[in-house]
Symmetry: C4
Subunit: 449 residues, 4 copies
């Protein structure tokens, strides 16, 4: 059986995409210009039939996915395919040119056979619907930017529609001799109309009801397509950078507020810098909101990836079970400090332990003047607050923009309650600690300090 | 009296819709081309008058609905109809052709009578306003997709407007002889203008003030209609699949976040799969938010429909009153687990009981290696947590994507408090249970395990 | 002094609006066609100057409002007016025609004076800016639908702009003799261009740089105006009925959910009916959200208006102070019951007292079969729950769609705490009550029962 | 090193912006019209080369900012520049005219050298990409309205694109002799097409495939650009005054609610006045929401700026540490009272202390009739409620629209707990106070009263 994530399947999907596109372009052209398939077109035609035939066979061996469950059972796969796309797929795979070759021997008038063949070949276009499914799957699994992908697929369909509308126009108006110029003129008319430019150098014959009605239909549908396109382009481009749009909107709101309330220029610039920092360092994303929607296990994996080795360094967590660490990591909350902000001051009662994710934090001496230590990425401080309800023994100040994570005591306690075996270890650690002079900086990190 | 949900009433509304549409199309045409009603048109005319007349009579017997209350009283119905639509409806029901036939005997000049008759027939178009009410009712009661319906109704009105604008143009410009081509040309001009294509092959006579003003009015109104249309098409298509749009937006946000934070490909694919599962299994709907808005009784009915037989199977709920089950069912909360996630682990303190709505959950033996049991749709586990505050006796792990519902102890207790007579039964059950070795899987479900 | 809510001031604002509009239309026309003011135009001109002059005088006596405070002081009003609009207003009030009459005696060449006069009259158009302020005030104070008003004002400005662009076009292209047709053609060209129809029957002379540049400027600005218009029309029409849009969106979401989860048709219809009831009875408005934003005193006034006489009927509230009632009324919460829903059942512990705002509630006898009483608009029940923690003595069931308000005990207690003098009365009432058999329906309402 | 906030750097960026714009306009023009650089154009050309060369040198000394951190290290700056924009910047700085002068001596055919030179000069346009970076920085740091700025930048790019498309059209169609008219015609064609006006007086030669394809490409891209523009103009203009839009939406919702519920006109007008006051006094901004997003230190600075001297006046806060005041100030909550509202009444239990930010508050005597004192901007009252749980000794009533801030006891207590050394002072103050008769108005403000 062929699984959805098979590499060769992806390649084959690419070939099918190309083949169907070719058929969808060539079939109406042959219908309009009425040429006979010769040379490379004839070869391409046979190749197409072969590709479609192989695909029909492959479908019987392709695992389908439904509601997150894979349908691996062969008879089930076959049953489903027979009931859905088998008939149109099989019809599209018939080699119509060969059938037309048989017309002579079978006594059918060749010209009629030719015309019928051209019409019957329309079934190949049915594969476009089948293709829509493939494109949807690609859209779902691709790691490309979804907005860009959607834009490409929409463009694909619109160009295809423009091609068909142009062929329809040619069929009604009739050709003048030069097929290429005729086609270009028809496409030119089609785009001029759909884009509502309407130069008026090509217009329907006003005594020809068919041409008038066709033009009106194209205009009415065109308005719809055009409205859809305009609406989509706006959202697409907006979504190409949702984050930037949010950031700009926020900035505009803040700027308006600051100008209205006459915030002094220096404070204005600090606030602007803060938002620019948020933007540059994390594209303004509120990680919390993205992560919150995930189920607990995925949430833990993402947060663990983001804060990999931090927790494992902390002495009180060393040697604790993986599950315990996972539960704690999910509870970490990000917080930003701007340069010069105090994270906490000596003498305050501490409730939180901090982990430095980015930036430098200075630990100050008793008089808040000298810098006792500078902590950087991966360091942590204030962990005694999780164990004891006592005042901070030193102040901590952000030396530059700092991304910290914190864990507060109540959360720590809540998680601890579910891991009673670990609680004893913590108490032991705390007792050992409290017999020595408390340091705001953990010994385990002394080398960093 | 005829009630709003009467089948024949729906059919009659369909006939009225058809009749009014015919009148709205034919009345301006006859006004512009000035033809005399002969043959089938004359028959249709009389039929129309008859239908409208019958409708006036029927209105006196039709129950109206107002603010959720039905107005069944006949005199009240009559009074309301007389005050609202009776006069225009009655005028629209007059057989104008017959009146015109009377012109000769009455000594009126026939030509004048004809012209007056054509003008007076305009009152029939007043029924369009009445029709708007019917369309609104259809929109409200229909089970069709509301977006599609709104799109159809909007298209109906725009085509109608285009028809009238075209007839107006014909009246101003005058006809050339071939009514069909004339009409097609007028419609073509109208659509070319409204769609802002503006080929320029049909333009107003620039020395004719009336034509210039008419064209300008059509353009100005056209821009409005066009803007309305463009705006609507965008929202309509968006609403055709609100859920999909939300899903895609979410996916784009998540993808951007993952690319920016360099989430490893395997984790990326797990997250994408999770969202695809959510989409495929429930169109990304947050059931909670839809259900929350309903009043309690409807909420209970919907949740009961969704989880029909699950609760009744649970031994501790067996034999409890219907009201009790209803209150509990409203408190069930959905939760999703991805393949391999632990629902809970042996030794944890349990607070929740789980019901399997979809997927398979494995109950593991003490060493978490062997699978003791596999639970599927309609099974439940961990129900002892509602009664006792004790550690789980086994681990439970999701074997595939699982939709579970859970009920936590505090909710259970809260509901129990309102049903004191049931509390005794539960305590008795708990005592009986606790005298036997605890199983995480209820005995009542042993056959499923 | 003239206050902003003076009736005559509104009338005068209307006259000014008319006068400025006339000036804004006539000034460029005279500039382009170069006609001499004669007959009624001359009279209108003088009248205009007089009106503007009177307005300048009146401005010195008009109270201005700033940030919710009225500026009544006459010298302050004068100072402000002198610094803001006095100069342009005064210039606009000059009688230019009279000045031009003085040209002869003063020895100025008449033709030059005429031309200068026509140019100088442009200052009258400055009043349009002043007018914008008046329109904004009207918009703020009007009780008309804000969306409709905004739409009208926008249309006013766009038509004005179209008029000016047309006059500009005439000035560049030159007139052909018939002023009316010339003007209509220019307006026609302007609208054709701005609406992007672009028939192409009137185009700039391609060897005339000025015409080309003017056309390009109009197109570029036109695109902007057009985009603004399209965007606005969409929001405007949407806002014409924000409530309906919300209702429809909700309905679409609910319908999609119900179809996807296969809710049975009867339940679907009940849910749809519920939302239709919400819509018909209160336009789907969430009163709570509208009221919540108001400051407490306004909130109380609105709620009191909505529930006027209900609270005063309740025996336990009778004779309590107005302030106490006001505070209670603010805490009333609306709730809806669908036909057949139980509000509460006999034997349940009650926590809430209910007031019937609309619909009928049935009080059932002990066996829940017979109807003991039917309560309607303005009735209340279950008030003993505010005083005693005891089971309900009867069941209450909604007979049709019911809008109830409820007051729960904790809120009642909280409010009571702030009115200690009232607490005694309540306790006395409760003691008196508890010495008699409890009724779920208050005696005070016995006549309704 | 040159820092980003260097004044001369801003000036130089302006020069670069001008130079690049000139190059981007002149390069394609020379390519199309094939003129030789003479006179001032030649001088400008050399000047441009010089400017670009100087800029290359300056880049080596310009500090870059990355994620809020400045890159000051010279070798790091050089390394980064060499890897990013050095090569295109250097190529753009080459003096192509001089190279062309060397063609003769070097034996190259002069005409060919000229043509090559014109083509090679295209590299200068690469600086546009570099420019995009500068424009982004300007956008980030500017204090101008972000929406206006974005609109200007977008217009800049679109005009540039129109210029290039026009030059492309000229290159394909060929010129007729008069360069200026030719260029104007090409630009006219371009704008006519992109704005979808499509007069049709200039259309591609329908037998010329290149012209047809070029036109179609312009139309297709034009639709995209146009859609983008329309979408942007709507949001831009909306964002020019986000606050007003919110206010209007709110007003529309409230108006609809009031009309539907038949609120009496006087109450309607009071509600409308309240919203107008909110709008006029603070542009409807919810300060809380803007401030909430800031980190604590910035939040405190903004609030302190807004309420500068208020807190310091209060006796119980006098002499407290700066940090303590900062923490309290962050907890101040704004509240609005409409004229005549009671802030509190005599006898109520007080929980909040109030600060008057705007408007007048009247303190009433025991019988609520006489006004004992009137408090204005910067005054405070009810501060004893933070210390004692006792009834208010007088009533306070808003005389006009009042913006107050309040601080409630629980918050005060919470902050106090973190500043134990200050707690003693407060207790002492309270004891001293309670030994005297309580005044609702602080003595410290007696002069204001």
């Amino acid at each position: 059986m062929i699984y959805p994530d098979n590499r060769w399947k992806h390649a084959w999907d690419g070939i099918i995409l190309f083949a169907v596109t070719f058929a969808a372009i060539e079939v109406p052209l042959r219908l309009v210009f009425g040429y006979t398939a010769k040379g490379w077109i004839s070869v391409a035609d046979s190749l197409l039939a072969a590709i479609f035939l192989v695909d029909v066979v492959l479908q019987f061996y392709t695992v389908q996915s439904e509601q997150g469950r894979l349908i691996v059972d062969r008879s089930e796969v076959r049953r489903r395919y027979m009931k859905s796309w088998f008939v149109p797929d099989f019809l599209a795979a018939l080699p119509f040119d060969l059938i037309f070759l048989l017309a002579g021997p079978l006594g059918l008038p060749v010209l009629l056979a030719q015309r019928i063949s051209r019409l019957v070949r329309m079934v190949r276009v049915l594969r476009l619907f089948h293709l829509a499914g493939i494109l949807r799957t690609i859209q779902r699994q691709s790691t490309l930017h979804p907005g860009l992908l959607r834009m490409s697929i929409l463009t694909y369909w619109i160009l295809m529609a423009a091609h068909w509308v142009s062929c329809g126009w040619l069929a009604i108006v009739g050709s003048t001799g030069d097929p290429l110029l005729d086609y270009l003129n028809a496409l030119y008319w089609c785009l001029t109309t759909i884009a509502t430019v309407g130069y008026g150098d090509i217009t329907p014959d006003r005594t020809n009801a068919v041409q008038l009605i066709y033009t009106m239909a194209v205009m009415v549908l065109g308005v719809g397509v055009y409205g859809y396109l305009i609406g989509n382009i706006a959202t697409m481009i907006a979504n190409l950078d949702v984050a930037r749009a949010h950031h700009q909107e926020k900035m505009e709101q803040v700027t308006a507020f600051m100008r209205y309330r006459n915030i002094p220029p220096r404070l204005q610039s600090r606030i602007r810098n803060y938002y620019n920092y948020l933007w540059e360092s994390r594209r303004g994303y509120d990680e919390l909101s993205v992560i919150t929607d995930l189920p607990d296990s995925l949430k833990a994996d993402v947060v663990i990836h983001l804060n990999m080795e931090i927790l494992e360094k902390v002495p009180i967590f060393r040697g604790s079970s993986n599950e315990f660490i996972r539960e704690l990591v999910v509870e970490l909350r990000p917080v930003v400090y701007t340069p010069g902000d105090y994270v906490f001051r000596r003498g305050e009662l501490g409730e939180r332990m901090y982990f430095v994710s980015k930036g430098r934090v200075e630990i100050l001496t008793a008089d808040d003047i000298e810098i006792k230590a500078t902590l950087g990425e991966g360091d942590f401080f204030g962990e005694m607050a999780l164990l004891f309800h006592q005042p901070r023994t030193a102040s901590a100040r952000a030396a530059e923009y700092c991304d910290l994570y914190y864990l507060d005591r109540s959360t720590f306690d809540r998680v601890l309650r579910r891991y009673p075996e670990f609680k004893k270890k913590v108490v032991a650690f705390a007792e050992q600690r409290s017999s020595r002079p408390h340091d705001v900086v953990a010994e385990g990190n002394a080398s960093d300090v």
